[in-house]
């Protein structure tokens, strides 16, 4: 049983999805989905434990040995990302039943859970597989279900943003497919470990450089890295709130994982950062992303838009860590991925609670919410502080590591800019705090109550996780550093 964990990680949610159809009754389906997601979470914890003790796990699908058969390969990096995805998915699911009551018509509830599970399957599949073509297939599984989930939103703009995401996402995925094809053409293999050993021989050819270029553009579309982020804000705002919470916390992390995996494990450090000037390119895009997206966030009227643009900015921080190409920079990036999942989960779940009680998330709807929904608002404040990077929150830890890594490379200007970027976050978070705590409720909204427990429970788990991982950083920092060291081939 334990030997089959890597495949169970993917199979459990995949098989659970069609099984939902048999259960029919929405409440049962919800419990079942929750169970499947929790099981996936337990599996990923077990996997991380195994990997930490025994090193990389290689699982041969159907007993065909790699590189001919498909291999699932779990190392510290995969296991770390899989925990983020399955953990956040489980927490978000806790609140989903209450949230979709008001946002999705009752006959579509079962379908919602099926799509949710398929999307989870896709993400976990991308993370565990060791086969390049499998990545494409799982990417499309998660994307196709994502488009449908977004289109479930009440507003008609949800369909429109889903369609725009579909066009962008398909172009991105097809670009990745082209990249995989070119790599296969040069090496004759699809296995990631095998690719890694064969690519250096042909690395100087134009085909491989083209493959990398296609891959980078494709994955950056999925990552919503500035300036390819245009699909993200509307998709996040008009999707059902619970879907937004799920995707904001997980989906860009998967794309970031792909970027790390292909760049560091397959194409190799010297190819991407010495032969090609990826360091400078990513540094520029990352910094631009931080400043442009944070500035746009300040001027948004809808709080979901604010945090959607904030997510784009946080991706910028991750990419700056990536561009350093050092162990310190990479572990700061991984740490920020983990911490941002916690912040985004807490914030968007709290926004889902606000949507549930108030019906909308315009800035004007927040007037007086500080008194009407004290626990939800407190969670938004904690999440906001974490986004800014105030000490004693998780956001501080990762930004601290990022700045230290920048200084370690003698990038003083970059370190300064990273801190300056946080000041922009102060502005947009303060707007919300000011409206919620220093304004009386709008007329006609006097009867707004605190969110139900179904929301408060997961919101507060995530909010306290934001504080916990801001104080006790052993677990998160150690795992992130070990994963980063593993990528650089240094024994931890």
């Amino acid at each position: 049983m334990l030997a089959h964990l890597p495949i169970l990680q993917v199979i459990v949610p995949l098989m659970a999805a069609p099984a939902c159809l048999l259960l029919r009754r929405p409440k049962l389906v919800w419990l079942f989905t929750l169970l499947a997601s929790a099981l996936a979470f337990i599996i990923s914890i077990l996997l991380l434990q195994q990997v930490m003790i025994a090193g990389t796990i290689s699982y041969e699908l159907g007993g065909w040995s790699p590189p001919w058969g498909i291999e699932y390969r779990v190392d510290k990096l995969n296991a770390f990302i899989a925990i983020i995805i399955s953990g956040l998915s489980t927490l978000v699911l806790l609140a989903s039943r209450t949230s979709i009551e008001k946002e999705i018509s009752a006959d579509k509830h079962t379908l919602f859970y099926i799509l949710y599970l398929l999307s989870l399957t896709g993400m976990l599949g991308i993370v565990t597989t060791g086969d390049a073509f499998n990545v494409f297939v799982f990417l499309e599984i998660s994307s196709l279900s994502a488009y449908s989930l977004i289109a479930l939103g009440k507003d008609r703009r949800a369909i429109w943003s889903s369609f725009q995401y579909l066009i962008m996402g398909t172009i991105g995925a097809t670009f990745i497919l082209i990249a995989i094809g070119l790599m296969y053409q040069m090496t004759g293999t699809l296995n990631m470990a095998d690719l890694a050993t064969r690519l250096p021989e042909v690395a100087e050819t134009r085909t491989v450089i083209t493959a990398y270029a296609f891959f980078i553009v494709g994955v950056c579309l999925k990552l919503a890295l500035f300036p390819l982020h245009l699909w993200l804000p509307n998709a996040y705002v008009y999707a059902p709130s619970i879907v937004t919470a799920f995707f904001a916390a997980t989906s860009t992390k998967v794309a970031a994982y792909l970027l790390i995996r292909f760049t560091f494990s397959i194409f190799g450090l010297s190819f991407s950062f010495t032969t090609l000037p990826m360091g400078t390119l990513f540094l520029t895009l990352g910094l631009l992303g931080i400043f442009v997206a944070s500035t746009v966030a300040i001027y948004q009227d809808n709080i979901k838009h604010v945090f959607a643009y904030s997510s784009v900015a946080q991706t910028g921080y991750m990419i700056v860590g990536f561009s350093m190409a050092t162990t310190a920079g990479l572990s700061a990036m991984l740490l920020h991925m983990f911490n941002h999942a916690l912040m985004a989960g807490a914030l968007f779940l709290a926004l889902a609670a606000v949507t549930y009680r108030v019906g909308a998330t315009k800035i004007s709807d927040f007037q007086g919410l500080g008194r009407q929904m004290p626990f939800t608002m407190a969670a938004i404040v904690i999440g906001g502080l974490s986004v800014i990077g105030v000490p004693l929150t998780a956001g501080f830890v990762s930004k601290w590591h990022l700045v230290v890594a920048a200084i370690g490379k003698d990038w003083w200007v970059v370190a300064g800019l990273l801190l300056l970027g946080s000041l922009l976050a102060v502005i947009y978070v303060w707007r919300i705090v000011e409206t919620a705590y220093f304004n009386a409720p709008m007329t006609g909204k006097d009867s707004v109550e605190e969110a139900p427990m179904a929301f408060l429970f997961p919101i507060w788990i995530l909010a306290s996780a934001n504080v916990y991982f801001g104080i006790d950083t052993r677990l998160s920092v150690e795992t992130a550093t070990a994963a980063a060291k593993g990528l650089f081939g240094v024994a931890p």
């Binding site: 073509f133 494409f136 196709l144 703009r157 369909i159 429109w160 889903s162 579909l166 066009i167 094809g181």
Partner: protein, 134 residues
Amino acid sequence: MTMILGLYNYWVVIVLMMIGFYMIIAHGNLIKKIVGLNIFQTSVFIFYISVGNIEGGSAPIWDESIILYSNPLPHVLILTAIVVGLATTALALALIVRLNEAYGSINEDEIQAMDNQDMVNHSLSNQHRDEEPC
């Protein structure tokens, strides 16, 4: 000359890819966009298939008289990709139907204009609400 004639399959791929990509960007009609997306994906399929082909190679069915086989793996991969492309097209068409029901149009510019109009109306009604005496 060999650059053009010898590698003609790649030129076909590139030309199709650019046609598809151009259609996605330039056409306002959503159905035409999806047609473009399909052409774009098809070009990648042709690319994979031509990569797998070996000149003079036979289909990968074992027989003693055959020495040279084409590589079947890219073809199998592309079967998967075709299915994915089909699912994408189906979903996109379903979304277009829903868009047509919601907006009464399948033109990108018109839908965008209606969305922008909604935004303006919404902020106007907000102002009205603020001006009303409490």
